[in-house]
């Protein structure tokens, strides 16, 4: 299937065009520097001694064997380092007042709680020597029973920490009107009750993590290079946790090779490099290896979902009720407990549902901690409602597209106040559904499906729909406060013109593949009437950009981009006053076009913004009270989230004799509001789709009964390759958001949110005539083959 891409939506400037990325030459030529590429003379290399047990008491740690190894400079147990910490590792989202959070130290003191938990650390003059020596540290473990299975852990048969009395960390409920929910289920003509497992996923950004801390011992300062999405949050948290005054820490995120949420955290290795650089007064660095990343970097998903729908006889939804068990893993990382809450408001999907109930219990297990992974809570919610909608369609006896159409929130209902209490900003959900059905020739696909079935074909066709709405642009600080999140959601920006008329933009957003430099320079170029090449974007270094809330939750454009646009507007306002002064006209008589302020009606009289920048720099003749230079700052904290939406259609072929599933076509119509650069939007959708397809068909972090992670390499954790996915056919509708002045929404996670249920629905759809109604993820050939055999013996599959 070939791609259809949206046309440029130009506004006369560069915004809305498919401008090629300014980041690319450095990345394409090998010139870009990731943390591992930064050369620091004299740096010591750190290696961690990680627990091979999921749960054990550490009875002794003897580092003497390591200290005798070549190149080894120091080695420490958790006890040796206990005095380094001002507080345990941070969790910024204690979702309830009584939430349990066992203390989490970078190196465990006397109990390790997952395979990979650190028991000791070694420093040597090379990475190889450090790794060799880590094997010579003698740790004596007294193995304890491990809580591995999530439901079993919820029953407290085995405790994940010996000082907990229950594995249950918290229970969080959102049921605005319990009586309405009860009434709806009591009176429902049709009910659906489904149970889904969100398997654990390993984020697997292509660049593993890395840290390098360079101390300036005599000044008391530290430069922290880290492959992180959050240099600003990291600086604050490093200061608190390591007991270093925050202003003495400079965090730099150089080129960062993808994150997907996995680098939205404060990790043990970052704290250790800082504390050990302080202790030894030498640079300390650590480079994560891939198999180490599987254990030591957060996992995503890990939920068991129970969803119930109440509907009338025609399939109109009356209520949605959800109960979740969410696997926290062994400890609370930065936002571990809050991830399910990001989906808590969205289990009714894009549908008009009058009554709603959501309850989540967070449970500790002896596994790698979970945390935000692309979509964070919203893919899980969308999966549950979209799978359940197909179940409802089967029960009511209507087409999956029709059951969605009957329930989508109407375009006339916006702003729409949901039963969960959110206000959806804007949407034309049915238009996106119609557009994608036309794009894929839905009726034609259904005819092909029917004809294959009639012929008894062994390659069956399945068509899966997924209509979604998500909340992003993570943001409104007051709303985040109401959810017990301890930080805000604003973003800061400064725009300044230099004496020669070029522009610097300073942003708190922190790109790691999203093309921010391109998009931000496009926004500012149009505002000031300069070219994007005249705009330099400064980011990801707290010395250059001291204020920021960083990049996650598809927030960078809607919040950070808006702050930049507002700062540019303020700069223009000041330039206008200066131009009015120099041209001796009233400010309101000036218009700005193509970078030139001209007097209305007398276009020959004017000054360029570049010339004004120089006048503001020399400050020889400024209006009374005006400060020199053209520079303006803004901090944007929106009053609402943004709500992108759309419908995706997956087309699969299922081989009934082998169970193999081939994704043969995929189409998506997304609405992310106004677009700055549709080229970049397309790329975000493509990548997002494949990350969701990966969950549907390929990926799972598999643990054995003892809590050993079995999928620590790319040979057993199956990140899809080019040969496993098709090309995509994309369309877009544009419904501007009223949540911000540019009318933008966000597109970083939409593909991942939509695609997982589309693909699994397609597989079930292919086999539904055989009686198959469910399919666990990842949809492996074995699972498909067994399902066919169980549902319809003699039709090809087996048990």
């Amino acid at each position: 299937m070939s791609a259809t891409v949206t046309e440029d939506t130009g506004t006369g400037g560069v915004v809305g065009t498919r401008m090629r990325r300014r980041e690319d030459p450095a990345l394409l030529s090998g010139e870009a520097r990731y943390v591992h590429d930064i050369v620091v003379p004299g740096a010591l290399h750190m290696a961690l001694v990680r627990s091979p047990y999921a749960h054990a008491r550490v009875t002794s740690v003897d580092v003497s064997g390591a200290l005798g190894m070549p190149g080894v400079v120091a080695a420490f147990s958790g006890t040796d380092l206990a005095q380094e910490w001002g507080s345990p590792m941070p969790c910024a989202w204690p979702v309830t007042a009584d939430m349990q959070a066992p203390p989490h130290l970078p190196v465990a003191l006397n109990e390790v709680c997952y395979a990979g938990d650190a028991a000791a650390v070694v420093l040597a003059t090379s990475q190889a020597e450090a790794q060799d020596a880590a094997g010579a540290v003698a740790v004596t473990y007294d193995e304890l029973p491990a809580a591995v299975d999530l439901e079993d852990a919820a029953g407290d048969r085995v405790l994940a920490h010996s000082d907990l009395t229950s594995n249950r960390a918290y229970t969080w409920e959102l049921t605005p009107d319990p009586a309405a929910v009860e009434r709806a289920f009591d009176g429902a003509a049709v009910t659906v009750k489904e149970r889904y497992v969100q398997q654990r996923l390993i984020p697997a950004a292509m660049e593993p993590r890395g840290v390098c801390v360079v101390p300036q011992p005599f000044g008391g300062e530290y430069v922290v290079y880290s492959a992180t999405q959050i240099p600003h949050i990291l600086r604050t948290m490093l200061g608190i946790t390591a007991g270093v005054p925050e202003e003495r820490i400079r965090v730099v995120a150089p080129s960062v090779g993808g994150g997907f949420g996995s680098k939205l955290n404060v990790y043990a290795e970052e704290l250790l490099c800082l504390a050990l650089a302080r202790r030894l007064r030498k640079p300390v660095r650590w480079s994560e290896e891939r198999s180490e990343a599987a254990l030591a970097t957060i996992h995503g998903r890990g939920q068991i979902q129970e969803i119930e729908l109440a509907a009338d006889a025609d399939g109109h939804l009356q209520a949605v009720r959800v109960r979740l068990l969410a696997d926290m893993g062994a400890y609370m990382q930065l936002v571990t407990p809050g991830v399910p809450l990001l989906g808590a408001f969205l289990y009714h999907g894009a549908y008009d549902v009058p009554a709603y109930s959501f309850t989540c219990t967070g449970v500790f297990t002896n596994k790698t901690p979970t945390d935000a992974y692309r979509g964070a809570g919203r893919p899980e919610a969308t999966y549950a409602i979209e799978r359940a909608m197909d179940a409802l369609a089967r029960k009511v006896g209507v087409d999956p597209a029709e059951v969605r159409r009957r329930n989508l929130i109407g375009a006339d209902k916006f702003p729409y106040t949901s039963a969960a209490g959110l206000v959806f900003d804007s949407g034309e959900y049915e238009r996106a559904l119609d557009a994608v059905l036309e794009l894929v020739d839905y009726q034609g696909l259904r005819a092909d499906q029917a004809s294959r079935r009639a012929q008894g074909a062994t390659r069956l066709l399945g068509i899966g729909l997924s209509s979604y709405v998500e909340m992003c642009g993570l943001a409104p600080s007051r709303v985040l406060a109401s959810l017990n999140y301890v930080a805000g959601g604003w973003e800061a920006a400064t725009v300044r013109m230099l004496p020669t008329g070029t522009v610097q933009v300073v942003t708190g957003a922190t790109p790691h593949g999203q093309g921010h430099v391109t998009s931000w320079s496009m926004i500012v170029a149009d505002k000031l009437g300069v070219t994007p090449e005249d705009v330099e974007v400064l980011h990801s270094d707290t010395a250059v950009s001291p204020l920021g809330m960083d990049t996650y939750g598809s927030r960078s454009l809607a919040v950070g981009g808006t702050a930049i646009a507002l700062a540019a507007d303020r700069l223009v306002d000041k330039a206008r006053l200066l131009a009015a002064h120099r041209l001796e006209v009233a400010p309101e008589d000036l218009e700005l076009s193509g970078g030139q302020f001209s007097v209305r009606g007398t276009p020959s009289t004017g000054m360029t913004i570049g010339a004004l920048a120089f006048e503001a720099f020399t400050a020889h003749d400024l209006p009374e009270g005006m400060e020199p230079n053209l520079e303006a700052s803004a901090t944007f904290d929106p009053t609402n989230f943004t709500f992108p939406f759309g419908t995706h259609v997956a087309v699969v072929e299922v081989d009934t004799e082998t169970g193999k599933v081939d994704l043969v076509g995929y189409s998506a119509v997304d609405d992310c509001g106004n677009q700055i650069n549709p080229l970049i939007v397309d790329g975000q959708v493509h990548g997002g789709i494949v990350q969701g397809v990966a969950q549907a068909l390929f990926e799972e972090a598999v643990y054995d009964d003892h809590g050993n992670l079995l999928t620590t390499t790319f040979t057993d954790y199956l990140v899809p390759a080019a040969s496993e996915v098709p090309s995509f056919s994309l369309g877009r509708t544009v419904t501007p958001s009223p949540s911000n002045p540019m009318g933008v929404k966000g597109i970083g996670e939409a593909g991942t949110i939509a695609s997982t249920p589309a693909v699994v629905n397609a597989v079930v759809d292919a086999l539904s005539h055989l009686g198959v109604e469910d399919m666990a993820m990842p949809v492996t050939p074995e699972r498909v083959w067994r399902s066919i055999g169980a549902a319809a013996p003699g039709t090809g599959g087996g048990r």
Binding site: A3, D24, L28, G30, M206, V256, Q691
Partner: protein, 157 residues
Amino acid sequence: MQVTVTVNGVTESHDVETRTLLVHYLREVRGLTGTNIGCDTTSCGACTVLLDGESVKSCTVLAAQADGEEITTIEGMAAPDGTLHPIQEAFREHHGLQCGFCTPGMVMAIASFLKEHPSPNEAEVREGLEGNLCRCTGYHNIVQAVLAVSREGQLVS
């Protein structure tokens, strides 16, 4: 042991530990950090370079095995005046990269692939790239970039 390797046209001799992998030699001895390391099982392809014109994963070749050989890394692809190689240019034109970490390996693998398959169809491109993982792009635009380069026959140079 001593190895003599020509990298991007420059021949140098160095003493290395016998266990030194080619990728570590390139990054640490030759200072060419464009070649990235993304895994430890020869699965991801981020470290792909050309050894006598053929793509190899440099994490699976010892520096000793490259003794006397010619290596091309991503740093050797653009012209001395900074003009990007047609594959690099196609990646930019078709937005075939996001975070850029897999990109050097992708570009080198494609250079080798297109030499062997000058006019591939989409399925052949996808099969040809299955040794190189990308987590950002969903491969769509990478495939478009490869097809565009092959259509334009720009690789004769």
